[in-house]
Structure formats: C-alpha cells, structure tokens
C-alpha cells in the first residue's frame, strides 16, 4: 500500500513538474540565461560592432570606479527614486483612503486615476513632453502665465527637467498603487476600527495608530515594487529628456542603454547592469526584512 502511495505521489509530482515546465523553460531561456550572459559579458571587452575582443577580468569594473558619468547617473537614479517613491506612496494612499470610503462619484475618479496605467508609456511621455515645452508654446507654462508665473524651460533646465520627469512618472503609475491600497483599505478589520472609535480615538489617532499599522504590509509591498520600478525607468527619460540637460536626468538604465547601443560598448554596459542588479537586490532584501519587522501581525 505504501509503495502504491509513493508511486501515486511521484506520478502527481511528475505531472506537476511537466505543467510548470513551459514556464520554467521560459524563465530559463528569457531570464536566467541572459542574466548569466550579462555577468559573463561584464568580464569581457565586448563591442556591438567589433564583437568579443577577449576576457578582461575586472577591467570594466575598474573603469566603472573611475567613471564620473556612472556616479552622476547613480546619483540621478537615487534622486529620481527619492522623488517618485514618497510622492507616489503618499498620493496613492491618500487617494485610496478617500476612494475606499465609497462616496458618490468615486467610480469616475477611480477610472480617471487608473486610465494612465493602461495608457502606453510612450504615448504618455510624448504628451508630457509637449505639455512641458518651454516658453509660451508649452501648455503648462501657458496656464502658469494666467497666474503671473513665467514657467521655466522645463525639460532643458537642470532641476526642472528632473521635476518634470518625476511628475510625469508619478501620475503614470499612481493608479496601480491606488488599486492595491484600496483593496487593503476595504479589507481593514471593521471590528478593530469600531473598537478604536468606541475607545474615543479621533480620526488622526485612528489613522496613525490603527489604520497605518494595519496597512503596513501593503505599504511595504507597494514600496518594494515602486522602488524597483523607479530604478528601472527608461521610456520616460528616453522620450522626454534623452538624459539631458547636462546628464541631469540620465539614470542607470538609460546609461546602460547608451553604453550598449549608442557607443556599442556591451562589456562595460553589462558591468553597469550587474551593479544595478546588485543595488536592486540589496534594496529588496532590506525592504523585505523591514516588512517582516514592521508588519507585527505577519508570521
């Protein structure tokens, strides 16, 4: 009987493995193999035009340490993330709390907020490039002129370019986070909130002491996804600023693209990609451990 059970278990396991085999093959071919290749290329002098010019050990990484442009792009990536992540989290949580309390008209607001998520990133960036035109030609500057403000040349002035890119990116991805938070807000245990109210908790206390801790797992999960997304931004930068002005919006992924496909330096681009991979991995590990600590009721 025991042998029969074991055979059945093995048969079922085999069936299971066969069913996940296509997915695993896809992961192996499209994710793992390219990932390993990037690691290998990072130790080679590889050029898109000239091919592989040999193993160079840590040369690409040594070049990276002395590359001012790499550190500029690293700084820009951090600035971009620091702009996008808090703004996105605060706005999406505020909107979710408002929309979660199902009042009239929220269905329309929900749809409007979610629309940018299903809009093509390319179309979104092109529209925002038009909106952020400098001088009198830009619609945003035109509106600002009505209240007596002379708008900057958004995409061609240091500081303002990053601001414009951050605004565009936050508005593009807000809807998805609002949706996740709304799910969490709607599933808040009503008995706990009710108990708080009976104990005389004011609205701010109810939010800070009860709702926020209960929402923490969702907040941290959304934060991880938003941080990773912000580290991988490409289309917005490519179409709105092309990394300018003065490289002030050139982020790591865009720098990798430039090195690989504009200057054809695949080996060096791979080294930068490996560094980005390690940064994202460390950030994810840190946030994951924070999630365990901050979510007091999670196992």
């Amino acid at each position: 009987m025991a042998i029969k059970h074991s055979k059945l278990a093995r048969g079922e396991a085999l069936t299971g493995y066969l069913f996940i085999l296509p997915q695993m093959l896809g992961f192996l071919i499209l994710v793992l193999v390219p990932l390993v290749m990037v690691f290998v290329y990072s130790f080679e002098s590889r050029n898109l035009l000239f091919g592989n010019m040999g193993f160079t050990g840590l040369d690409n990484y040594k070049t990276l340490i002395g590359d001012d442009l790499f550190f500029l792009t690293l700084k820009n990536t951090i600035v971009f993330s620091l702009g996008v992540v808090p703004l996105n989290l605060v706005l999406s949580l505020a909107l979710a709390l408002y929309l979660g309390s199902a009042s009239a008209g929220t269905k329309i607001v929900r749809s409007v907020i979610f629309l940018p998520v299903i809009t093509s990133g390319v179309a979104w960036a092109i529209v925002f490039k038009y909106l952020f035109q400098g001088g009198e030609a830009g619609p945003i500057n035109y509106i600002l002129s009505f209240i007596g403000i002379e708008g900057p040349n958004w995409l061609h002035e240091r500081g303002w370019a990053m601001t414009a890119v951050v605004i565009s990116r936050v508005l593009k991805n807000l809807g998805m986070n609002v949706l996740i938070f709304m799910g969490a807000v709607m599933n808040l245990p009503q008995d706990v909130l009710e108990a708080g109210r009976i104990d005389g908790a004011t609205k701010p206390i109810l939010f800070w002491k009860i709702k926020l801790p209960l929402l923490m797992p969702s907040i941290l999960m959304v934060m991880i996804v938003t941080v990773i997304g912000s580290m991988r931004v490409f289309d917005t930068i490519k179409l709105m600023t092309d990394g300018g002005p003065e490289g002030s919006t050139m982020v790591l992924v865009y720098y990798i693209y430039h090195q690989a496909f504009k200057t054809f330096n695949i080996g060096y681009a791979s080294a930068v990609a490996v560094v980005l991979f390690i940064i994202v991995l460390i950030l994810t590990i840190i946030q994951w451990s924070l999630r365990r600590r901050a979510s007091f009721y999670e196992d």
Binding site: L25, G243, H258, K262
Partner: protein, 427 residues
C-alpha cells in the same frame, strides 16, 4: 485515468522536445536557398517614393544579372538607426545592404562589417567619383561604402515672412553680395520683432542635441574654426570657434529670434522664417501654403565654407548573399541610378554633377537655385568631422554641450570643456 494522465504527460514532453528540433529543422530548410534571392536593404528613409525608386534599381539589377530578387526594405528611424542596425548585424536578421551615417563610417569600416567594393565598382567607372567625396568611405585604398548622397546644407526661407517684415530675402542679399552671418542674424531678429514668428529653426529642430555639429559647424568653419581636424587637432575652443558659437548663442538668448531648446516650432509648418536643410527636405515644401526660396549658407570672415552631409551605402561582409549585395551596391551607384537620385540625394559622380540634367533634377527647385545652393557647394564643401570613436564622443560631449543652452553661459569655458572631452578620444 492514470493511463490518460501518462499519455498526456508523454505528449507534453514530446512536444517540448520536438518543438526546438522542428524549429531547427525549419531553420536548416530555410538556409537552403531556392527561388528568388532574398535581399534586405536597411535605410533611414520611409518616404514611399524614395523606396520605390530604390526598388526599381533592384529590379533593373536583377534583370541585368538574370536572377530573381525578393527585396525587402527596412526603414529605421534616423535617431535609432545605428542602434538597431548594429543589433541586426550581430543577429540573424542582418540586412545585406545598408545605408551608413557619415559620422559612423570610420567605426563601421574598422569593424569589418562592410565588404570591400572595389572589384564590383570596377564595372561602373569608379574614377568618376569625386576623390574628395570618397575619402571618408575608403581605408588604405579600399572602398567600403559609396556615398550615394553628398548633400550640402543651405538655407530655406519663408518669403512671405520676409515680405511681411519688409526686409530683403536671403536670395536678394546673395545677389547684393551681402549674405553673411551678420545679415543672417539681423534678418532673423527683424522677422521675430516684426511678425512674432521665430526667425530661424535649427536643422530638423535638433541643433541643440542630436544635430549639434550640423547646426554649429557651418558657422564655426566660416569663422575659421572647426570641431577637430583629420590630423587630430582640436579647434573647438579656438577664438574663431568661440566667436562663431557666441554669435549663435546671442541669437538664441539676446535676440530671442531662434526657436529655443524645447520648443517644437517647425519651419515647414510656417512657424519659423528660415532653417538649414538639404535637398532631400525640399519635398516637405511641395504643399507649403507660403512662398519660399533657397540660399546658400551665409558666409563668415573666412568666406563661404559649405558643409556637406554625406550618407553611404555598403554591403554586409558576413551576409549570406554578400557577392550579390556588393554587385547591387555598385549597380545602385552607377551613373544612371545616381542621375535619377540626384534630385533627392546629390551625387558624388562628377559626370552627373556637371550635367545640365542635374540642375533640373529636383522639380521643386529652379536650375538657378540648384546651381547656387547645391551644385557650387558640392565640389568645394567639406563633410562634418568624423572619428572611429565618434559614438563615444557624441554621447559624452552632449552632456557638456548642454551647458551652453542657458542665457548666462560662458561660451569660452563651455567650449574648453568640450575640447577636453574631445581630447579624451581624439588625441
């Protein structure tokens, strides 16, 4: 039930193993050519008339060789041309024949991706090509691509806006012998002041970024400067270059007469009075609702120094049909084909350039306009600077050039920084 499950599992496994094998088999079957020869041609034009013209050359070539060719034209957007082309050349979708940008010619030649063409060209009087025009496309006496376009930059202007401002047109200033960068600047400002329309739009609106040298080199060279020379001497921060760039900077920020960075106003839509362009852009004016004209680029202290933009065509050295591709490139640049392309892409063949037909080859331009703005500049003009490390130079220097596009920029210090950037790769 168990039997059914086992059969399902076995079929799944079989399918997973068989699929790649069948795909491989398919690839092998594809490798054995039967029927027409498939030739892929990569260009950065998507103009259907221009593609049709190129396709007619392929048909003629196929008839001459007695073979059947299935030509596929791939139009890649100009800004992404090198990126996509270089990727394709490393993969299985590589074009057999492709256009080459002048700025990347040295890198492509050195990489070995271009097949030598001299043997194929021998059939079509190669001595007819202007030696000066061929310099960029040859290395150690071997020709790796043929410049199908040797096209000087000139000024296109909106005659209605000049009339509205009550000032002489560039063509009238040329006739007076008074067409120089100072009168160009005055005209641009006068139009902006009188009509509110921008006086000048840079080349394709890209003069502050992707076409920065196309925009500045005509002024810089006519002032006696340059970006760098073929000997590796960097001249971008010489007093002559600084004076030229200062003039353009003043036009943008002091006069406010040039379409500024970030503004998408377009000459062809009537939103600017002048722009720098080449013959291939003239077709955009076929349906223009304003009167327009052409004039050569203005002269500077060193006189008239025409700038020529070149584009080459070459054969992929590692393609399946490399021999046919080489012959096709040679055919497409023979005297007959070049003469038919001349109205779009001015040629490097002397016999065509010197012919009467060339002056009437662009239906939207008069013979006089072709003579003054195009023909006279081709023999005396110079191509933009190039270098085997041009892609790196372009990417890195762009960041430094950006510092120039603020009202209070110190032109000398920005150009010193650009020179420093150039020196990293050129010296």
């Amino acid at each position: 039930m168990r039997f059914f499950r086992k059969v399902t599992c076995a079929l799944l496994l079989l399918a997973l193993v068989a699929f790649p094998v069948m795909a491989q088999g398919g690839a092998e079957a594809k490798a054995a050519p039967t029927g027409p020869v498939s030739i892929k041609i990569a260009t950065w034009t998507s103009n259907p008339d221009q593609i049709a013209l190129l396709n007619s050359f392929v048909d003629e070539f196929a008839a001459k060789e007695g073979i059947e060719i299935d030509a596929q034209f791939e139009s890649i957007e100009f800004g992404e041309y090198n990126t996509k082309l270089s990727l394709e050349l490393q993969g299985s979708e590589a074009p057999d024949v492709f256009w080459v940008l002048e700025t990347s010619a040295p890198a492509f030649i050195q990489s070995g991706l271009l097949a030598p063409l001299d043997e194929a060209l021998a059939e079509y009087n190669p001595d007819d090509f202007s030696a000066k025009a061929m310099e960029l496309w040859q290395s150690n006496g071997t020709t790796y691509a043929v410049p199908f376009s040797t096209s000087p930059f000139f000024i296109l202007y909106n005659a209605d806006l000049f009339a509205e401002a009550g000032i002489p047109t560039p063509e009238e200033l040329v006739a007076e012998g008074n067409w120089n960068w100072d009168t160009f600047r005055q005209s641009s400002k006068a139009i902006k002041d009188a009509t509110g329309v921008w006086g000048y739009q840079t080349v394709d609106g890209g003069g502050y970024d992707v076409r920065i040298l196309h925009n500045l080199c005509p002024i810089i060279r006519s002032y006696g400067g340059d970006a760098w020379t073929s000997d590796g001497e960097i001249l971008i921060n010489t007093p002559e270059s600084v004076a030229a760039v200062q003039l353009f900077h003043d036009m943008v920020y002091d006069d406010g007469s040039v379409v500024p960075p970030g503004d998408q106003s377009n000459f062809f839509a009537g939103a600017a009075a002048m722009t720098a362009a080449q013959v291939s852009r003239v077709s955009n004016l076929a349906d223009a609702d304003f009167a327009w004209g052409v004039a050569p680029m203005p002269a500077g202290p060193m006189g008239d120094v025409p700038i020529i933009g070149q584009a080459g065509i070459g054969a992929f050295s590692k393609g399946d049909n490399v021999e046919i591709a080489k012959k096709l490139v040679a055919y497409m640049t023979n005297e007959s084909c070049v003469a038919r392309m001349a109205g779009i892409w001015p040629p490097a063949r002397k016999t065509v350039l010197e012919s009467e037909d060339f002056l009437t080859s662009q239906p939207l331009l008069t013979a006089d306009q072709m003579s003054v703005a195009v023909a006279s500049s081709i023999e005396t003009g110079r191509v933009l600077p190039s270098h085997v490390m041009y892609p790196q130079i372009e990417v890195e220097s762009r960041i430094v050039w950006d510092r120039l596009w603020t009202p209070n920029a110190d032109v000398q210090s920005v150009l010193d920084a650009v020179a420093e950037c150039y020196a990293k790769y050129i010296n």
